[in-house]
């Protein structure tokens, strides 16, 4: 009989420091510290973090946590995952939607210590620590979700600090309403994705309000893409003589972005325009529409959307806290509707060759059901040449 191969089991029970997630309305969730809230190890040269704040939203995706965490649309927000085990397959660089996460924190029921996947390049916790993202694990995230569902998305504070201190921090956090978060995430200078080939390949200028890498992947399949900063004037865009303009996704409240809407308005009618998420909202605003804040938003990968044209249903990836108010966009046809709550999911002004969808046809994470929209944009540009 061989002896015990190790003095103890594979691992010893991990005891993390206690941490809290405190909402601006005073609701407290108990858990344990993770990510940047962990005390730095001796060899780590990072400052200890005691408190992180942001607007708390929940996301119902079962997989795709890395894409969610690196989606710039989550700037200013703390993300609570409803699926309990997060981090199972680790992180891999090719799944990142941006160079770094822009969210402010993460709340989970159970963080996986040891990931398993042939694609994995490291653990999620390592990733969070590296990027200074605070997190709390061990939380009754279902209670949290039910609370946010009823009370709405609201500011919160995460940390190892005392409850009173966290509550004060949560109350001081402005949230997203009326805040321009695009400036925080947009590229500083233009760049290209996919070289324009000889033979007249389509060319698209994409406004970066917080653009996801998966969108660039999908766009670059139909066109050479030039990504420009959010504040790029319309005449500069037109000066690049593209076949179409793409309005990207991005974080926060579209009502705080009048300066961007103005430029979109100047492009309409000049060339085909396609907007996704925030881009869709800015398009609608430029067409005279108004937007409003949803109670707790749509953040997940299972939202049924009716495509009016075919009467069919597509399962969509969604991530937005604001939406276009019904009936406010004159002259535009509603092309897509959310079957759960009737929220407008797609608009089109054929005469202006402009359309947008509220959800994420590029997926990443989420289902691929609506990828046809990129082809539709390609055809529109071809037809407009």
């Amino acid at each position: 009989m061989s002896a015990r191969r190790r003095p103890a089991g594979e691992r010893t029970a991990r005891m993390r420091p206690a941490a809290l997630c405190v909402l601006a309305d005073g609701t407290v969730f108990e858990g344990e510290a993770m990510g940047s809230l962990l005390p730095p190890a001796r060899e780590e040269a990072r400052p200890p973090v005691r408190i992180a704040t942001g607007e708390l939203v929940f996301n119902t995706c079962l997989s795709g946590y890395q894409e969610v965490l690196t989606d710039p649309s989550y700037a200013g927000q703390v993300i609570a995952f409803t699926y309990p085990h997060i981090g199972n397959y680790g992180v891999s660089p090719e799944d990142e939607q941006a160079g770094r996460p822009f969210c402010r924190g993460v709340v989970v029921r159970d963080l996986t210590d040891r990931p398993s996947s042939w694609r994995s390049a490291g653990s999620l916790e390592g990733f969070l620590v590296r990027h200074g993202i605070a997190g709390v694990t061990g939380v009754d995230t279902r209670r949290l979700t039910r609370h946010v569902r009823e009370a709405g998305a609201m500011p919160c504070a995460l940390g190892t600090a005392p409850e009173a201190e966290l509550l004060a921090a949560a109350r001081a956090e402005p949230g997203t309403k009326g805040v321009d978060l695009v400036a925080e995430v947009s590229t500083e200078r233009p760049y290209r994705v996919g070289e324009a080939e000889a033979g007249g390949r389509l060319r698209v200028v994409a406004y970066d309000y917080g653009i996801k890498k998966t969108i660039l992947d999908r766009l670059s399949r139909i066109a050479a893409v030039e990504v420009v900063p959010a504040t790029t004037p319309s005449e500069e865009v037109l000066g690049r003589r593209p076949d179409g303009v793409f309005l990207s996704n991005g974080p926060g409240d579209p009502a705080a972005l009048d300066h961007l809407v103005k430029e979109v308005g100047l492009l309409l009618g000049e060339l085909p325009v396609f907007g996704i998420c925030l881009g869709h909202q800015l398009l609608a605003s430029a067409l005279g529409g108004t937007t409003y804040k949803l109670g707790f938003g749509h953040h997940g990968g299972n939202h049924p959307v009716r495509r009016i044209e075919t009467r069919t249903v597509e399962i969509t990836s969604q991530n937005h806290g604001y939406a276009v108010a019904d009936g406010t966009v004159e002259g535009a046809a509603v092309t897509h509707v959310n079957l759960n709550d009737g929220v407008i999911e797609g608009l089109s002004r054929e005469d202006l060759r402009a359309f947008g969808v509220q959800y994420h046809p590029e997926a990443g994470p989420g289902p691929h059901d609506a990828r046809y929209l990129f082809d539709a944009f390609g055809r529109l540009m071809e037809a407009s040449r």
């Binding site: 569902r149 299972n302 399962i315």
Partner: protein, 1164 residues
Amino acid sequence: MGRRSDLESILIVGSGPIVIGQACEFDYSGTQACRVLKAEGYRVVLANSNPATIMTDPELADRTYVEPLEVEVLTAIIERERPDALLPTMGGQTALNLATALAEQGVLADFGVELIGATAEAIRTAENRDRFKSAMREIGLGVPASGIAVAPVGIGPAGRERRDVRRGLEEAVRIAEEIGFPVIVRPSFILGGRGTGIAHTPDDFVRLARTGLSASPVGEILVERSIAGWKEFELEVMRDRLDNCVVVCSIENFDPMGVHTGDSVTVAPAQTLSDVEYQKMRDAAFACIRRVGVETGGSNIQFAVDPATGERLVIEMNPRVSRSSALASKATGFPIAKIAARLAVGYTLDEIANDITKATPASFEPAIDYVVTKVPRWAFEKLPGAPDALGTRMQSVGEVMAIGRTFEESLQKALRGLELGRAGLNCDPGERRFDDLPIDQLVEKASVPTPERPFQLESALRRGVGVDELAAATGIDPWFLDRFAGIVAERERLAGLAAGDGADGAGAFAALGRRDWRRAKRFGFSDAQIAYLFGGLEEDARAARLGVGVRPTFKTVDTCAAEFVAETPYHYSTYEDEDEVRPASRPRVVILGSGPNRIGQGVEFDYCCVHASMALREAGFETVMVNCNPETVSTDYDTSDRLYFEPVTEEAVLDVVEAEQGAGPGGVAGIVVALGGQTPLKLAGRLPAELILGTRPAAIDEAEDRERWSALCARLEIPQPAGGTARSLAEAAEIVSRIGFPALLRPSYVLGGRAMEIVYDDEGLALAFGALSLGAEGLLATERPILIDRFLEDAIEVDVDAVRDRTGEVLIGAVMEHVEEAGVHSGDSACVIPPPTLSAETLGVIVGHTCSIAEALSVEGPINVQYAVKQGQVFVIEANPRASRTVPFVAKATGVPLAKVAARVLVGATLAELRLEGLLPPSAAAADAPTPPPRHVSVKEAVLPFDRFPDVDSLLGPEMRSTGEVMGIDRTFGLAFAKSQIAAGNRLPTSGVVFMSLADRDKELGAVVGAAFVELGFSIAATAGTAAHLQATGTEVAMIVAKVGDSAGDPAAAGDRPGDAAHADAVELIEQGRIQLVVNTPRGRGPRADGAYIRRAASANGVPCLTTVAAARAAAAGIADWGRHALQVCSLQEHHAAAAGDVAGSQGTLFDIALGAGPAASGR
């Protein structure tokens, strides 16, 4: 789009008896389909041979045919009912195969019946592996390299058509050599992977390929590249007629490829797929369902993924609801079968509301915020000789599902739910057998998949073996193993706390604070495990835990991860902050379910629980179901007012009862323990006594406790076989010296004849006693004495199901006479209503005894009493104050809803009240009133799993081994018996050779039976001894057959010896197709007796084999009646109406059983 108005009448085909690979998940799906289609206003016609199902309740369909599931029978039903459509996707492989045959034979076209849910073309594409693979390649999906070998049809020795297996084999070998070993062999059109296996060497291969070619109904096998060790996933997909597709659930197998998915521990949702991989798999699944052409409904698609590279292959797809879809429905709250039925009649997903939220449509993909683990339940202990290694052939008989917020919690719950005496993932006395093994041996054992693997893995991890080493040895993903390691680490932490405290008894748990308890519970540890670790009692652990305020919270399964409000109270326990149990307005009755299906406890008890729920809801209670079997109707969230998906254990039940006590007005009115079989009954003593409904737990004990029970019988002057109770072999020998051999030995408190044995001599007694007192797994023989009875040979066994109310009135549900003599477990014996051979006087005595026993035990509710009748004298064998497995059969045979009546009586209703209310027909009179002669005879026949376990002897005995049952109903006993045999898959021949080999004690009756067969035109072949006896009584024997054991050499090799025409032995004759019926009764003990080879050959060659003379006599009667009258189909509704005298006896439609049809049977 909406409901199709061009259809009026729809035929639904069920899946027949419960067999391995096809269990009560199809009762769940079929019941949902019947309900939905009836609610949509269609006329529903149902065909299913299984009387234990809820779907065959007469009120669920307009016409219910409990008839054999054969093409000829369905043709007759179609001719009679003229349905517009046939829905074949609810009854498993059985229904799909039948639908394919009906389409191919032109029956559907002749009668203008449309296949809905799946077209014949789609079924063919999915089911034929070759077509499926080329279809997948066509759309760019990877499939394992493979080839098809077919055994062509030729003419065999007896001039019959036979498959040329040898030619098929040659082709198979060529294919295997091309692909390279290891290869996997899969026979076509076979359910549950029967005949499938992995061959590592050419020798293995030849053996498997030969079996597979013979087993496949089309003589076809697929030989393919083995991808054993890859990760396995399943997606449950739905599609509607507008081509909307959704994935309802993803499932990841804990066991890698190589273990049949039905035998794998599986987890939902998939845990180790990144979104990039998952979405590609989802795309592939949609491409698959579109290409196969399943236009509406659900399908299940299996994938294998190379853990090193992510390469993904499609393995198979089922164009129908399946066991996995039942699991997915329970795991997500998305009722696949119900929605598939609606899609089949024209709805689109977005037109159907999500039942749970009521506010959102069904066209979405459930988001879940918990982890679901399914663990299969095997029955190897009942099948000596079966190897317990798991492979590509499914062997499990049931399964448990558990829900937890983490994998750890759900895994440990599921392991407790199996009811194998384990408290979770080890940390209980059962772990010692793993901990005692040397580590290297343990790791080696764990590398072979067996039911014990999870426990072996835990023990290995706890003793220092690393996750990586175990992952390499087993192919199990390190994610799962790391979770095991987390459980181990937490246990070691808790053990450290235990060691630091000197206190014992109730004080032992003082070291555990609130945070410790909460952590432990969140890792899924039960109170029993903590008690084991701390050396205390479970009840003290519970008290200590409640003392520091740690109690479970109940969360809701809501399809949407709490994004929307859930209307349906479908709960599971976990340890969190917030509890979601809503206040109730009416008193609650908690119904305890029967846990996983196993041999001895199956769908019959689920039927009883579901009926209790229906009856008690109607009576104004809120019903609360507790159960953990995902295949069942009881765990459908629609069945009861509240569903708690929990293991049926003391801790879980007490938690539910406490939660419901606190949920508002009325509290808990009571707990039903009498309808779920032995599982809830065993808990009765540990639950608050004042809440147990019906018969007092003390009376249950009185019936179980041998001495008290004997005293009671003596007081009532009811004869019992002589017997006694032994705690030692000496005591046993003393008893036997008093009562004489043969003797029947059994432990107390068992169901399904667990470990019963009949012994004929001292040696047998010693062996059997030794085996029983070793305390085989699942038994506590040392604590519970062994019962020894004189075994009454050649006695007729009789079962009575009755209900006694609080006023003392007794309703006799039915008196059932067994076909097989006493000594064959009642669950394995065919039985008949009404009793064909008992005199009115004997019946009167039996009814009288039943009433006295019920009275003496103060039974309130159901009671089952078993008797043996020998030479007119009635002996009582045992009484059980609970519903028995025959309750649904009785209800189908008589039309009296016995389970509903029992449930109402449990909550205080009297039989008189129920008669007034109409639940009991006025004709269902009290026991002392005369019963009118019935117009039909009902036979229940057991279905045995021997075709799946070729090395297990098919002999029947006191240990129950059947997995399911079928029912035959017709005008005479013979016809009903013949139908029951056809339904059970034993088509009786009407001509040919009957081979007889009988034990000495059977020879007298055997001669009568032999003469009957000769009269019917059969010729007889017999072994020398049997032949001599037959000839002595004047019966002609055409052929004297060598005993297998008489031949030189090892009898095991008998089948491989070259045939010797003059002196061929029985095995050879069977293999040559020269025997049409085998009657072989046991004479020796042990699996090596020669009869075993004969029975095995019969089983392998599909020759009906009867192992009792009584059954042979019944068969002769059946064949005789069948010769005089054609079989007819007739619905239960018509039978019941005729029996109640409402209408004249209905005339069924004649149908023709092609194989060996009775002479008088006419074609359509």
